[in-house]
């Protein structure tokens, strides 16, 4: 498999930016973990570090998905990208916007009152979790996303070869862009503010992003083991259908305690309890397809794809369903239990998804048929074991917090400083383990396919 089109190579721009931000995300993550013990040891306060940790993650995952989509659309349509120059422009425009936003965060981190109101919106930071980016950046990001969607759509229109995978992928991405809008207006009521805010956050990660994941999983199964398109696409439709059937009304689990009517306790409870079902179906789908096909074209790609399906179910599904019922959530809401779910869910569902897509497409982009995948597996185990241990420490901290604070009635600060002390220490240690995995992956990413070239060049020069 060799990438024939320029459009496929655009993916590499996005992947590179994604991998660099991934490293940044993990380093600031370790700093944030350290601040649980020593809040003042770094020149930026926890809120800035956490914003960088989460925003860099959202951006690098989106960049990874956009890069992967450029690749998939040109490959599936068997034609050049509609406008390669526009894609490169969109990439650089995104990079510049992201860097400006980051500079703004750091500026505000140093001088908090610099975050002034300009034209009715805050200049540097909206002060809303996950969507901290100021309004001017929101608009630039939206323009970038629309350019991206138009480019992909027009590419498919060139050959009008709408495969199920392309349709679902572009549909999921359009849904993603649309769901950014509810985060772009101000409401006086904090209750309404959080209501619409969850439209963005929940309908992204448990809606649009899972639809994209379903489409990409189908694509990867076809590419890595040569699964039959007809069968794979049918299951893909069933999976993404169930994702949205459960996920849309599953938003209700965020509306239990924020001042919204009590009928959400029922709706949220029932539908979010069903949310793991499609994720389990994806696991079954991945294993069944792999078992049926003995010919593996890309072992690293397959390994990451199947692991993604499995950890998506564990992190997003199981670790979510533990505390999603209102009777449990009443006690755990707002504790470290949520943090533990967030970490395993994002890692399983989206980090591994993007890394899997990189391993499936990168060899073709670099023009190699086979590559040594031992480093890929090595980085996987470093990352996965470390992440599972990180999640277990945070889960432990959350259980202690729930018991001490919610059941016994101790003060938040006392529980954090005394009872959870060792959990914070272990989390930092495992954080470094995760960083090792990320660095191995980054090294593999930058060298994959190039080592062979060097070897060839040396041989030629000798001759």
């Amino acid at each position: 498999m060799v990438a024939k089109y320029e459009g496929q190579k655009i993916a590499l721009y996005f992947y590179t930016f994604a991998v660099l931000l991934f490293i940044v995300q993990v380093i600031v993550g370790i700093i944030a973990a350290g601040q649980f013990l020593y809040p003042d040891f770094f020149f930026l306060n926890f809120n800035t570090i956490r914003t960088l940790h989460i925003n860099s993650m959202v951006v690098w995952l989106l960049c990874g998905l956009m890069g992967a989509t450029y690749y998939v659309v040109t490959d599936e349509s068997q034609t050049e990208l509609w406008n390669v120059g526009l894609a490169k422009f969109q990439f650089w425009a995104t990079v510049v916007t992201v860097l400006l936003v980051v500079l703004g965060y750091i500026w505000m981190g140093i001088v908090p009152s610099a975050n002034k109101e300009v034209f009715g919106t805050l200049l540097l930071n909206e002060g809303r979790e996950y969507i901290e980016a100021p309004r001017w950046a929101d608009l630039l990001i939206a323009v970038s996303a629309i350019i991206f969607l138009i480019n992909c759509f027009m590419t498919v229109q060139k050959t009008k070869h709408w495969t199920g995978i392309q349709g679902t992928l572009i549909g999921g991405l359009t849904f993603l862009v649309l769901m950014y809008v509810p985060g772009m207006f101000y409401t006086k009521s904090m209750v309404k503010d959080q209501f619409w805010w969850w439209w963005v956050i929940h309908l992204w990660v448990e809606g649009a992003w899972e639809v994209i994941a379903g489409a990409l999983l189908a694509y990867m199964l076809i590419k890595t083991v040569g699964a039959k398109r007809e069968v794979v696409e049918k299951w893909m439709y069933i999976e993404v259908a169930l994702v949205l059937f459960t996920g849309i009304l599953g938003t209700g689990h965020h509306y239990y305690w924020i001042g919204t009517p009590s009928y959400w306790l029922w709706i949220g409870g029932i539908f979010s309890a069903l949310e793991p079902v499609p994720l389990l179906l994806m696991v079954w789908d991945a294993f069944r397809t792999t078992r049926e096909h003995r010919e593996v074209a890309n072992r690293a790609g397959l390994f990451f794809s199947v692991s993604h399906a499995l950890l998506n179910f564990l992190g997003a599904g199981l670790w979510g369903v533990f505390h999603t019922l209102p009777q449990v959530n009443k006690w755990t809401h707002g504790t470290q239990i949520t943090t533990s779910h967030g970490h395993l869910a994002f890692y399983g569902a989206y980090v591994l998804l993007v890394l899997a897509m990189i391993y499936v497409t990168l060899p073709a982009i670099r023009g190699v048929k086979e590559f040594n995948y031992s480093r890929a597996i090595q980085s996987f185990w470093w990352m996965t074991i470390s992440m599972v241990l990180i999640v277990l420490t945070i889960t432990g901290a959350g259980m202690v917090q729930t018991y001490m604070e919610r059941i016994i009635g101790l003060d938040y600060v006392a529980v954090k400083a005394e009872y959870n002390y060792w959990f914070w220490i272990w989390r930092i240690i495992f954080g470094f383990g995760f960083l090792v995995g990320v660095l191995i992956f980054a090294y593999d990413f930058f060298t994959l396919g190039k080592e062979r070239e060097t070897a060839t060049i040396i041989e030629t020069s000798k001759a």
């Binding site: 914003t51 975050n115 805050l122 209750v191």
Partner: protein, 224 residues
């Protein structure tokens, strides 16, 4: 099931659920204002201060946020406003080991923020956060409280002070206060904290009757 029927199931099924969700959103928007107190300009200004200083970057509110610092939904119920104001403007001046940095919040901004926090404490949250199970049964039938303990409870001292591991961390731990301070000092301090410590953010409890004050001092000085 064929691929085509799976596709239609996906498209129309998702639309169906989204329409239901839209309907519920419409209904929720209609009902939310009845579940919250009215919003004045000051409360709105306070919400903007909340966003401006990225409070959610460390705290949670209505349980959503960053889990690094305490939840702010009911903070106004537990802490005196005068304490909160001093704390917001310069945390370490009132609590030397406070994690929160001095953000540059002005006096006016602090007032608005407190108005906003008062508003949020009155939102009907379907009973969240729940009252701690154990704390709410302590004293029920186990043993009779002394008069001093009753005053300690009724004045909400526990919201800021710890005794034997239970209580708030805003003020000093009182577990062994009887060793450090004599009755006279305690009496004067509770009546007017700034007479002993000009920086103290504790409100003056000069509303207490002489008898109650003495009972409270008696109880505190017994903590050794």
């Amino acid at each position: 099931m064929t691929t085509k029927s799976a596709k239609y199931l996906f498209i129309y099924g998702s639309l169906f659920f989204f329409v239901i969700f839209l309907g519920l959103t419409y209904d929720t928007m209609k009902k939310v204002d009845e579940r919250t107190p009215p919003i004045t300009d000051k409360i709105d200004a306070g919400k903007k201060v909340w966003h401006k200083y990225d409070c959610i970057g460390c705290h949670t509110i209505l349980g959503n946020g960053s889990y690094f610092a305490p939840d702010m939904t009911k903070v106004i119920v537990r802490k005196p406003k005068a304490y909160l104001k001093k704390f917001l403007m310069d945390p370490q001046s009132v609590k030397t080991n406070a994690t929160m940095p001095k953000l540059g919040i002005s006096s006016e901004e602090a007032d608005s923020l407190i108005a906003f926090l008062e508003w949020i404490s009155k939102v009907d949250t379907n009973g969240w956060p729940p009252k701690p199970l154990l704390a709410s049964v302590v004293g029920a039938g186990i043993k009779t409280l002394t008069e001093g303990q009753k005053v300690f409870q009724s004045q909400g001292c526990i919201n800021c002070h710890i005794i034997n591991g239970v209580g708030g961390t805003s003020g000093p731990d009182l577990t062994k206060i009887g060793v450090i301070r004599d009755k006279n000092w305690l009496y004067e301090f509770i009546k007017n904290p700034s007479s002993k410590n000009p920086n103290s953010a504790m409100p003056a409890f000069d509303n207490l009757k002489e008898e109650e004050l003495n009972q409270l001092v008696e109880y505190l000085s017994s903590l050794k």
